[in-house]
Symmetry: D3
């Protein structure tokens, strides 16, 4: 079957809290969708200038990494909405603005893309930015009357790469065979030089590869990514 | 989108504990699948001779009703496995045999049909026969190695019509627009003269229509049926 | 049995995030309570001036609609707490103030009404205002020592009309037969001209009617509303 | 408020897997209901002759204990259905017979009592007899059409005294103030000489007293018992 | 076995939203850990000047009470981070700052203590300060790469004393026998003169004693405290 | 920390539905426990003569495999209780006998071993034998009074290797670093020639290795196994 049963020329919107979450969470699926002729658009909500443990976060660098990674995955368009040069923007205190962003961003939003499927961070991430983006995207995805705002038929949650140990149980019941697309995901991951980490870190490429291999092996595949179904409306 | 993303000539197996559960639980979806060119096969596990409240249960009558209802829905093949003339067969004490039936029945089983999608009773039904068939079908649907038993890509649970008040919370997150197929479902329901009930009963046609209308209305449709996703593997 | 087992002259407080949530969520139950001689008080938290999709939101209009709808349901008193003329008030960033409002509003609060039952938005609504009001009302409803703040014996959650497709599983195990009170609910709904929508929208009256009929049919009734029990203390 | 909102002359059926489960699980509530003029009927499913750890289980003794305990609680009628003299009766393999017992026992059943409320073992008990009685009672409690079998308006689950450490999370959200009825419960407990244990055992009276005091204290009461709501239909 | 399997000279960090939450939630466990030679450090996030129902909240008084209670429990070090003299500090709107506090407070934090076990408020507390501290501590406890931030092996949630009636089901599956340490807990509780309440209040010492006795009795002990396991990594 | 906080000379009982479940589910943990000087005893409930897909199940062969695998892991003693030469023994219909087996088997049971920790199949396995053994072991593990039956302090659930895609959400919150013990697990797995499968099967060694590596990587380790905590009593 095609990915999520989508056909050529249908459209998908991926909402990533920060640049790299789209690749870490569902890079293989994005690459497979693109290879199947589905248009994939990625909205990254924010990036901030900050000193990080084991690296730096320079907004310009991260924007370039994001652009390159999206290209490696075959994404149709990508947008990074809010660049926080001062490190003062705390999106957890601006939930309403995040809803409006996802609904109306001029390039990569529900209004601009009118996607058939919406991929959002799953509910149980430990990171509070992921939680606020999850809730905002979930609200934006509600059912609207015909003729008013766009309602995506499929709404699915992707996993944060650092959340595998986490305590939040959700139904991870949708699985995508990404065996033919691991290399595209790996290429995209390698674009995020500032964000990846070495052996022993959840964001090491080798750990991500092993995780996708374990997910795939449970289904009889080489690699896979899993999703939480929030609404699948056919 | 097509139903569950399935294409023409793909195959679906529906496992009903008793004749009528397939129509009550997912008759509109079966009719839509058939109309879309998907082959649908129905396995009804058992029917027993018994005096029922508000009706009778004669196995020959129920077999005829089942055949007619399946025809009204456009089903490709249907089979009723175990006819219990004495009323002594208690499938709740024979779980292993039910697994084998679903795996190997010669006409309507995983081995015979090699379905892309398997529709089974959801977990939370109050009826103990539904519970044992749920567990057996779930076990039969496990992932097998390539080259051994058939593994269906999609496994979904349908609702028992008398379970809407029930206490078991499950993720009813898959919805099928059956607006164009309510009349086929109604025709199939009318085949089950011995099983339907009048106004004020959960098995009254009017109640089923209202339930499907309410499910549909929440999605902006006229009629819909909802399902629990157990495994959706693309 | 009487509604929730309440007797004449007992008191109920309904906390609605916005005017209309009380009618959409539990209008039939409010009407039945009023008809049984129970005092019902409604606190609507906020309304803001805003352009909405498919309508407008003028605070003065919405206050009038609220007053009229409450009258149609037979409510004893109603209050609209915060009118946001600028559209800048975001209650999701003021959780503590919402707790204090529900505890101490001078007309419709726990302190003013000393209710036996408290009806609040259920936890799983997609709307972030509903979530913040749910959490605030739940906090306000905690058990206090005898002689200090009032503790309501019954705390129940009502559903948002746009939440039926939603992903949050909660125990909807309390059901109220509103068959004799649908017409009062319909009259109250018709007061909300600015908020209701036409066919195909979750806030169309016909959809609400169908939903209540489906809920009722599962119990053998014509119409019903369901609730999540948070605390029932007898 | 009255217990569960019930009025004088309404009826309650308590289904206990074995004699003593009714007292251990909800003895204070039974005593309070009886004191409020509600008719309470108790059906104990089975007792078997067996050597037990720390005691013996003689069916005749246990029948007498059951009769005396029910009298101490003010029960209207009590029945012990199946006395297993050989210790060979395993009700976990006879689920259908247990459903029929609860539906049709001639003295204490849904048909005989037509109860307004049905109290059953909660779902998460470790004891397999409790599990099978829970499932059977839950099935028997389903909604029937008007004019056919009796449907109890309220269905609640009581706790097994040895299940407090147990891993099964359920919504224990209904609480009954049994402060004035602890002594009746204690008198009933003392009837079960063969079943009670000394200090350090979950079935020691002092432990039961402490548990009820802790449950009550959380609500500002001296003693209380908690229940899982399965269906509360008003 | 030793508490949580910890050995002499290992370290524990307890994060309390306000002074007294550490004693109310896990005072017996802290006392036992200290008695076993484990170093226990307590970080209380905030206290504010406010008029409370049934008492007052003077920051200086509460700091002294906190210091004395920690001493009574045998705590190695304790710190009170934010004293809010105006009552205007609302930590629910500053989630990121709370994460940073728990990660980097100079005296009692993950960086300062490098604890083997982290005890945090459980998820389901009604109090919004407890919720924000839970989420912040959970985020701070995430798994870090070797050589970067400290990752505690054990992360457990303690209960709020006013949450026992609460609607949030979590797996309370870790139990600590505090029979030999009740008196230390009681001494610590008595330090909180401004916060404790009399009979009939959830924060009455007698109610806390009864609750711990009921928890213990279910395990065959005199007193115990229960915890939610979030991560136990050996 | 030591595994589960256990010390040298403490005892663990592992209950496996069939020979190989102990190695597939927690072979690395068993090997680590043995290496730490903990006594590990394994009870395999049953094995039956049957034709299997992709292999055969000869009881004598499987007994030998079991003995060899247990030796490879460093197990102190192992026992295979019921050899079913005819393939007719269906343990799902004999739940009470399985409880008694786990309580009283003369060599490897709660009575014989008096274990500090009990490892059992987790609740959500698809295999009905695993479900019945889970429930029986959980019942056997209940809390007994001091001086009567043995109560294990720790009760944990291990995963079935074919259950990773499965729909049952449980709190997998206990993790054991098995990095130094993967090779012992691999040696034990290789003893099960009749049960292992090749590439693309959930029971291929390479898939098991990948799964353990993914589980470990999420914690910053090379290999790990995860468990559900049912009771951890310190």
């Amino acid at each position: 079957m095609s990915t999520f049963g989508l056909s050529t020329a249908q459209r998908v919107l991926v909402v990533a809290p920060h640049p790299d979450d789209e690749t870490l969470g569902c890079g293989g699926t994005i690459a497979r969708l693109a290879a199947e002729g589905v248009d994939v658009h990625v909205l990254a909500v924010t990036v901030r200038a900050a000193v990080m443990w084991g690296g730096t976060s320079d907004p310009a660098t991260r924007r370039d990494e994001f652009t390159n990674a999206c290209a490696a995955l075959g994404v149709t368009s990508s947008a990074l909405a809010w660049i926080d040069e001062t490190g003062e923007l705390d999106i957890t205190t601006r939930p309403r603005a995040v809803v409006e962003l996802i609904e109306r961003h001029e390039q990569a939003s529900l209004a601009a893309v009118e996607p058939d499927a919406l991929l959002i961070p799953a509910a149980g991430g430990f990171h509070q930015d992921h939680q606020v983006v999850h809730r905002a995207a979930f609200a934006a995805a509600r059912v609207h009357a015909r003729g008013s705002k766009h309602t995506p038929a499929l709404v699915l949650g992707f996993r944060g790469v650092e959340d595998h140990w986490s305590a939040h149980e959700e139904p991870w019941r949708v699985h995508v065979n990404t065996s033919a697309h691991w290399y595209a995901k790996e290429r995209a991951l390698r674009c995020y030089i500032s964000q990846l980490r070495g052996d022993g870190h959840p964001r090491a490429i080798e750990h991500i590869r092993t995780t996708d291999a374990a997910t795939g092996g449970a289904l009889g595949w080489h690699y896979a990514e899993s999703f939480v179904p929030y609404r699948l409306a056919y």
